[in-house]
Subunit: 134 residues, 2 copies
């Protein structure tokens, strides 16, 4: 069902500091930057192998990432698995009885289609499915 | 410096339930199981592309994972990046002034050599370097 770990999502309060860490110290290339309105975040993708680190800085304290930061501080926020067919993957997880945050895919970074599973169904791990734009 | 995301580490209290989630529902093959004395955990690796999900169940409440579970409940614990040369990678992160939990590599799962960076240097993300056994 999943091809690989697509990315880890990291909640940050200091975006420039986080970019410096991952690019200068860890040598990951900054690949993409985007304001994702649907999630109310500024997002930066850095490349590591075929996967990515996705840095997420909230644009408001009301956003999901804003609330996460207030509760937990900066750190690991979610993991995303890549799929070629998110509609079929969502059907499978629905059929398995997992709780979904997104019953239908929505638009994520770089025109991908994404859906989040609820962490109460996934052992506390906020889990995202990603079908990259073709 | 890093070839790819090697794995995400997930703290679990119900190991069998977590294996069922990742293998039966997400279709990841269980690849390896090991008691890692140095970390006082039972660990299970499931395959996803070239990477892994590493499930970690504490063998005592005094272990790092045991304390994490008590504080946070089950969920994302760390991310690990693969390197071909952990000695060189550790020198680079030391030279960059990052704080290390492990100043020298120690033995991790499947005979790998691993070292953890301190989350206070890495934006709250517990970060592991892994050089797989050759």
């Amino acid at each position: 069902m999943f091809g690989r770990i697509d990315h880890i999502g990291v909640a940050v309060d200091d975006l420039d500091g986080a970019i410096a860490l991952y690019s200068e110290r860890f040598g990951m290339r900054e690949q993409h930057r985007e304001t994702i309105e649907a999630f109310d975040v500024e997002a930066v993708l850095l490349e590591v192998g075929e996967g990515h680190v996705e840095l997420l800085k909230p644009l408001s304290s009301e956003s999901g990432i804003g609330k996460f930061l207030e509760r937990n501080g900066p750190g690991l926020h979610h993991v995303a698995y890549q799929t070629d067919d998110i509609d079929s993957a969502l059907e499978q997880v629905k059929a398995a009885g997992l709780d979904l945050i997104d019953k239908e895919p929505r638009t994520g970074i770089r025109g991908s289609r994404v859906a989040f599973l609820h962490p109460k169904s996934t052992g506390g791990v906020l889990t995202e499915l990603v079908e990259p734009a073709h």
